[in-house]
Symmetry: D2
Subunit: 151 residues, 4 copies
Amino acid sequence: MAPMPTDTPEALSAYPICVRIPIAWGDMDAFQHVNNTVFFRYFETARINYFSAVGTLAPMESTGVGPILAETSCRFRRPLTFPDTVIAAVRVPLESLEEDRYTMEHVLWSEAQQTIAAMGTGSIVSFDYRNERRAPVPEVVRAAMVALESD
Amino acid sequence: MAPMPTDTPEALSAYPICVRIPIAWGDMDAFQHVNNTVFFRYFETARINYFSAVGTLAPMESTGVGPILAETSCRFRRPLTFPDTVIAAVRVPLESLEEDRYTMEHVLWSEAQQTIAAMGTGSIVSFDYRNERRAPVPEVVRAAMVALESD
Amino acid sequence: MAPMPTDTPEALSAYPICVRIPIAWGDMDAFQHVNNTVFFRYFETARINYFSAVGTLAPMESTGVGPILAETSCRFRRPLTFPDTVIAAVRVPLESLEEDRYTMEHVLWSEAQQTIAAMGTGSIVSFDYRNERRAPVPEVVRAAMVALESD
Amino acid sequence: MAPMPTDTPEALSAYPICVRIPIAWGDMDAFQHVNNTVFFRYFETARINYFSAVGTLAPMESTGVGPILAETSCRFRRPLTFPDTVIAAVRVPLESLEEDRYTMEHVLWSEAQQTIAAMGTGSIVSFDYRNERRAPVPEVVRAAMVALESD
């Protein structure tokens, strides 16, 4: 899907999914910085790419089991402004991977500032939408996550 | 759904659907005015309320026939700023109601400025999603539109 | 600014700022729930109302001291859907009010579901934009916060 | 700023500004297509790039003369979905360039569909913000526009 940037900074080397996102002028708010809600949009773009890479969404139609974002947070380190490009990087520390949940760790890298502009987390719960209860992360998804994070 | 404002200005008396929308601080962009894309969000809110009022979306599941926004436009007359509340008003001139299409006319009223801040249009095409071609506006919807616009 | 809802639920009685926000159809994403980034937009609307109520932004022009959102988080308890109205409630526990920072506690109440749909936090740092360093919360703002939270 | 795509399709050869924009999953709405307001965000991104290319915003600080978006429209030809990348192309037909106004023509190209997904227009008025009236397009901007469009 989104190609891995070829010039990923060293600081992101532990993050298997890195998506380059050009900041839109319209991402800024009346304080003339990228609005805080847009940081979560960047996180989301990385998360969806991660889901694609490990096949998280594929079993949903046949089994009804899919991910829920249960909690998310962001720590703002540097304001972002247009024009710039961020690299939205995400990883899942394997020690966070429990039977029915795991934690994503997000980083936003500013190419213009050559530094990490924000860090964040996302708690993902595996959910059986048909029976409305938590469900184990499907084995094939778990295996893909372990492989992706072990590269 | 959204209650008709009780104090609708005279200028909106010909508009059967009027929705009060508080402007969010975050609707403003780096020029410190409400961003142009948000005007179309306000139009959309009015459009969805109109669709609800005449039952446009109800037949979609049984017949597959629903509306498509084919074209839309906005003329900006006054900049909008936070804090303010807009009234998003919409009507369908019955002379625009053809077999498979009609035109919505939008107005955004600024309560703070007591004037019309923007005007716009939306061309709606009735579409048979199953057979992928235009389809007549369902009779029950057409009747509801005629009744709503004739009040 | 935004009027205090007259029918604020008991669960929100400890929150001095409560803003009613109609959910827009366009707040929903492809999963047909209100998108996670929009929860932070609702938080922001409450935060800006809080800032207005205690005069946080007023000293910025004369002294250059204003607030920075340093960190924010949201815990999602119930999906939100259109049509609905949320009450975005916010308070600052006085025990969090330090010399140059404090924590906002957010709650989003769903009127349709009659329950709390999400909870969150925001860490606010008082910043001297001219000298680019932290600064004490201005005395007049601190006094207004204490008064607001002690009602 | 945004680099000109190297593989611009023939259909866009008359457009001097072409910006590649990856569609975000979150650009889609509950109908699982890119929301109509986002098309105007893509137009805006192209417009801002155009302004940068011809120096439209540069004189604003010294002279107070800058652009206003007076009117905009979009014709939707194909639904857009994630994942995809659009090329937002824009040009100003020189015959539209009057003393204090001109018209931008927008096209959105879908790389996945290899076709034009939407077309639109934007009417730009040159405005003297200090004296609150229309003002001629600054000569240096006009010359840059003529050069850009004549290449």
